[in-house]
Symmetry: C2
Amino acid sequence: LQCFNGTSRVRSFSFVPDFAFAHSPLDRLSAIRNNEDKLKKLRESKAVSCVRISGDQLLFDGDTPDFSPPKPHENIILLGRDPAQKNWFATATQATDSLKSIRQIMIDGALPKEVLSIIAQARSLVHWHETHGFCARCGTASVMSDAGYRRHCPACHADHFPRTDPVVIMAVTRHDKVLLGRQASWPHGMFSVLAGFLEPGETIEQAVRREVKEESGIEIGRVEYFASQPWPFPASLMIGVIAEALNDHIEIDATEIEQARWVGADELRLMLDNKHPDGLTASRRDAIAWHLSVAALQRLSVET
Amino acid sequence: LQCFNGTSRVRSFSFVPDFAFAHSPLDRLSAIRNNEDKLKKLRESKAVSCVRISGDQLLFDGDTPDFSPPKPHENIILLGRDPAQKNWFATATQATDSLKSIRQIMIDGALPKEVLSIIAQARSLVHWHETHGFCARCGTASVMSDAGYRRHCPACHADHFPRTDPVVIMAVTRHDKVLLGRQASWPHGMFSVLAGFLEPGETIEQAVRREVKEESGIEIGRVEYFASQPWPFPASLMIGVIAEALNDHIEIDATEIEQARWVGADELRLMLDNKHPDGLTASRRDAIAWHLSVAALQRLSVET
């Protein structure tokens, strides 16, 4: 992971970080989304796959995902075209026994990272349609259009667009330590970096400072962008940063997190490698949180 | 504007860029949003201001904004507390003759930047309530709660949260030039950097590459984060980056932009200073676009 170039802290953005959902190979073909003829042609083309989603689960056919071409009755969303010229669509499917949790698929790691990223796009879009069947402006049932990237209200003529929720997630550093917290609902012993939703009227940097202050009482100075990750549970954009604390004293907000502590480089390394003597862990490699911790660790190693 | 440290491209994030809406002084007091007693106390405290919004306009009383304390009948949203311990709220107001466009207020520059930032928060939240009165899941009228940061559906019990739409905005550079485009609807002669909404399942970097490719045909390599700006028309988060082009040949998508061209440092400087012989301009200083152009210009100056 070549994030920081020694002491100069130059961040290279040509690398693609090895976390989940960030490896989509698709050309989204947005120019043809409202061209019914071209969409029909795509749907009937030779190489077509359809991702079938129910809630946060994916439809399987035996041991592999059911990516069979869309049936005539299926109301499909255009995902895009992959480099092998295969056209990808998504649709909602009914709850059956043949579903598998997308989180579990991510953890198992059996699917190529490109396919997992396509599934993330499918999940976020299908969820948006499933939870936005009515016009929020007037309450009338709305209609999917633009191949799944718009819903139109036939009564008040409002247009609605898919929603993506920006989340700030931050490795907070102070001298030779990183701030980690845990929520009561997490698996025993798991810690991670802090995170929270960005609010209307905030910059990324303001959201970082507010969230860290609210959850831990720590004041933040310098904020540095690291990388971003789509997180399809249901439709977040994780904006990862490294943030420098201005004070040490932790005062947690117990409604948000159960515990927060400063962790040194040696202990963090044990947690990241799943070798901590007390069984403490630091999130999963699929999450940007793990990579933020590693980047913070590299920085600590450079500076100390 | 100390964005880049000479040739090493180290980005300092302690500076607050001097664009509009990014200077909120408020503590958002999110811990008390669902505490009715504390909210009542705040509302009745001595130092209270209420921002009154109608669409993208602000209510005035004569020559100054009507920030008078909330009337008993007004349904208010908590904005936060400023450093002088004044509590700020927002509410929707009816269309009257005493309204002034928030864009025009921004352009006039008569209000302190901190107050303009508070108005941005108010505008985004009021707009969300005005356009989300019904549950998108079931169509029933929903009810404002959490001092304005949630709407609850009494029928299906869904909770809805304010929406912020991430937008990528990028200064694309190639050798000694910056890519600028213009939309047909813009004032005559105005050019700006490219921008577009991030879609579900994308990273920031992927959205930058897709948008630039779609609008101009240019391929992007390295992407570097610059800064972010809340943009309350109605509720965007502008994520500003500098992006390096891998090719020169422009092919515009005429449905998105009318024209795109490579502009050299000397010409860009004339545009930024409003001194271009043909009257070409490069967006307003209030927008992050202007500051992205300046940052790109500084980089060109360093490299050439």
